[in-house]
């Protein structure tokens, strides 16, 4: 293993993490809800659901975040290396997988681990392992 010191950003990453944790605390203490993005989206897509307003508001907040950020600083550069077909396959996998597992990085990773949920720990360990494995296979075995 070789640590990539050129891209290592412990301080901004920690500050960003604190903000994410603060947001999760704000939502659970204010709305009594878990800040799990895939669950919030899933409920928003369910047209029979009657509590879609807060979900729409949360998603709107996410959409607006880059615009709010721009008031204070220029947005950091983003690199999306994946090609459009790969993005489509990946998006389908993320959509199906997160709903099947009832959570993603936020619901199981941040909120679940904060609650001390063993179930969420199992989910987080599984998607992290699958992520590590996928990058290993695509980068180092297939050389994509």
């Amino acid at each position: 293993m070789n640590i990539d010191l050129a891209h290592f950003t412990p301080f901004p990453s920690l500050v960003g993490g604190l903000l994410i944790g603060f947001s999760a605390a704000l939502l659970v203490l204010g709305n009594g809800r878990v800040a799990g993005i895939s669950g919030i989206l899933g409920g928003l897509l369910d047209t029979t659901s009657r509590d879609r307003l807060w979900r729409a508001a949360f998603v709107l907040g996410l959409f607006a975040a880059p615009w709010a950020f721009k008031f204070f600083a220029s947005l950091p550069a983003v690199t999306i290396a994946a090609s459009p077909p790969v993005l489509i396959v990946a998006g389908l996998l993320v959509g199906i997988g997160t709903r099947y597992a009832s959570g993603c990085t936020s619901g199981h990773g941040v909120c679940g681990l904060s609650r001390g949920s063993v179930r969420s720990l199992a989910a987080t360990a599984t998607f992290m392992a699958a992520g590590f494995l996928t990058v290993f296979v695509t980068r180092h075995l297939l050389g994509l």
Binding site: A65, P76, V78, I80, G91, I96
Partner: protein
């Protein structure tokens, strides 16, 4: 108030994702690339988020209703089953392929990044496919 709080939580969550580097797929894939040039930054995002999250959920657990009067809706599932593990594995594979999980993808799509919009569209289709399959096979699997 509930709607406003959800909007604010989404906004802070999104800004946290931008500040932390999670909204940049190249950085996420750098974290998932253990065998290459490994960028450990995202461990700091998780650490920071959980540090605050633990406090928020510890308080939330003691409340019958949220501060704004909504019912406390915390996850009750504890079962580690095939759905959880298979779903998380699919999600992790997609996460590794694109470098996007649901939250950062929404933030990036909000900024108008075309590749993120494509990913989000595929993710929403994936979520709908899940709902259709779930309804199609409802009742064939014995509930816990």
């Amino acid at each position: 108030m509930l709607i406003l709080n959800a909007l604010l939580a989404g906004l802070i969550f999104g800004v946290g994702l931008i500040v932390s580097g999670m909204a940049n797929p190249a950085k996420v894939q750098g974290f998932l690339d253990l065998a290459g040039n490994w960028d450990p930054s995202l461990a700091f995002v998780m650490g920071g988020a959980i540090a605050i999250g633990v406090v928020g959920f510890a308080i939330a657990r003691r409340l019958k209703r949220s501060v704004l009067g909504a019912p406390m809706s915390l996850p009750k599932a504890t079962r580690i089953d095939r759905r959880l593990l298979a779903g998380s594995a699919l999600f992790g594979a997609g996460w590794g392929l694109a470098g996007f999980c649901p939250g950062p993808a929404l933030v990036s799509a909000g900024s108008g990044e075309p590749k993120a919009v494509l990913f989000v569209a595929a993710m929403l289709v994936g979520m709908q496919i899940f709902s259709l399959l779930e309804r199609r096979f409802a009742g064939t699997e014995k509930p816990a």
